[in-house]
Amino acid sequence: MFPLSIESLGSAAVNGLYVLTGFLFGFALEQAGFGNSRNLASQFYLTDMRVLKVMFSAIVTAMLLLFGLEVAGLVRPGALYINPTHLWPGIVGGVIFGVGFVIGGYCPGTAVVSLSTLKLDGAFFVLGLTVGMVAFGETLPLFRGFFDASGALGEVTLNQALGLPRGVLVVLIVLMALGMFWVAERLEGRYGKRGSESC
């Protein structure tokens, strides 16, 4: 039954597993080209839709595998962490984050990968991240009520919110992803610079 009971391994081994998971995560991000801010920013100029392709391939893969394992009864019901929904802080924070993403060229994980391969823009982005996080902590009392309570809906899933059976939503998301991949290929054909590797 998943998730595994790893506590019995002891904290050193569990921490080691987290380092290993992070290692594979960082490895995959770097191989995807996400240590390069040009590959990330190009998403927003329709020249290279790598961000969308990688993200939605990853989400669909994990969604299908987890759904399949749950249907097969191999996952303890309710045992997987579902990010609780704080709708408005999530949306406002997401828009702010998106603005920082297109100006700075990275998100936190990709900036760490960029830093790990000695890219100076990635290093400055990480430095900026820490300053932004300090600014958040210092100003939080000003909007505490908004942060804690606005649109706080708990562990609600998208299928619950839309009133759909989960299996139907899974199929719809797969179809949406395939549609976006098709559009992404068309856009790259039109705006992309095929064959010219950015540097």
């Binding site: 960082g26 939605f56 989400i59 990010n83 920082g100 600014a135």
Partner: protein, 172 residues
Amino acid sequence: MNRQPKNYLNPYLAGVLLGVVLTASFLVFGHGLGASGGVALLTGVAQSALLPAHAERNPYLVNLVVSPERPLDNWTVFEVLGVLLGGLASGWLSGRVRVETFRGPHVSARARWGYAFVGGGIAGFGVRLARGCTSSQALSGGAVLSAGSWAFMFAVFGGAYLLAYFVRRLWI
């Protein structure tokens, strides 16, 4: 040592690999991946080490790093350490580890550092307000169909596409 960098992986294949790592994380730990949490903890620990009296009065820091007995003994810290090592290993195998600055054709390296710093600052604030980043919200929450994570994901793309036109000289 002057190796030509290898090509990046096919994005769909890279995405499937990332999805398998994400699935493994859920199956082993019961939760997905994260990157911003570790950065936030390390930042908070550094801030409270520099300004201990201030940290005691700041509710955010009290919750994050003052109350926990060993704040750095947290999975997000170990995971971000792994990300650093994995990125380095992948970059090294593909001949991409070298000091350089990625930037648009019309931006100097120095200006790019400034924009990266400012963009990072804005993103850092947004990430904490949204309780997570592209990894912990969009990828992880997205895969288990959290409603808030999907709203966050579309907000990120929305914010970036809205501003992209106005900052196009940074990139194209």
